[in-house]
Amino acid sequence: GAGVSQTPSNKVTEKGKYVELRCDPISGHTALYWYRQSLGQGPEFLIYFQGTGAADDSGLPNDRFFAVRPEGSVSTLKIQRTERGDSAVYLCASSPRAGGPTDTQYFGPGTRLTVL
């Protein structure tokens, strides 16, 4: 079956611009996660959705970052006034149930964001 998909695969933007990154989770998965992976590092947690609501947004670095999941399926990560330090691969993952360590997270291929 289809896995987690993310669009676009690559995004190049200029400093100060607004960007939206999209995640399509596996159909029927309740939980959705966003992580950010800087060059040469492991992924860092940004936000976790349980259904339509953000259950934990403690990883969002500042108020320029915002994410939504209005119908409990597709999610969009929005970054305002992009900075060069925002350049990274943004990974999305989904899991079947309520999240937690026994609920395997399935990752998408990520969106590579480059801010010039």
Partner: protein
């Protein structure tokens, strides 16, 4: 806060050899899980193996096994009979147990780049 440390940035072995990747972690939690994820060049993270901290028996999945030393906070991954398709970045990760806030997020190490040579 939890931290995960992988001290080997890169490793390289010949096909069919056995290789061990190291991971240490720091936490004050008593209920937690540990994971190894593989990230091939396609960037898609794939779960390799999961270990529950309260289980003394080391987890195994086919050619992959772990050596979990709870007192030492060490969690190494052994790959037996390595194959060319095992070439990838490998990340060790931690997750709190239970359903409290923060229990759903993975905390990753910096990764080890593993190359299997023909």
């Amino acid at each position: 806060a939890q931290t995960v440390t992988q001290s080997q940035p890169e490793m390289s072995v010949q096909e069919a050899e056995t290789v061990t990747l190291s991971c240490t972690y720091d936490t004050s939690e008593s209920n937690y899980y540990l994971f190894w994820y593989k990230q091939p060049p396609s960037r898609q993270m794939i779960l390799v193996i999961r270990q529950e901290a309260y289980k003394q028996q080391n987890a195994t999945e086919n050619r992959f096994s772990v050596n979990f030393q709870k007192a030492a906070k060490s969690f190494s991954l052994k790959i037996s009979d390595s194959q060319l398709g095992d070439t990838a970045m490998y990340f060790c990760a931690f997750m709190k147990g239970g359903t409290i806030q923060g229990a759903q997020k993975l905390v990753f190490g910096q990764g080890t780049r593993l190359t299997i040579n023909p």
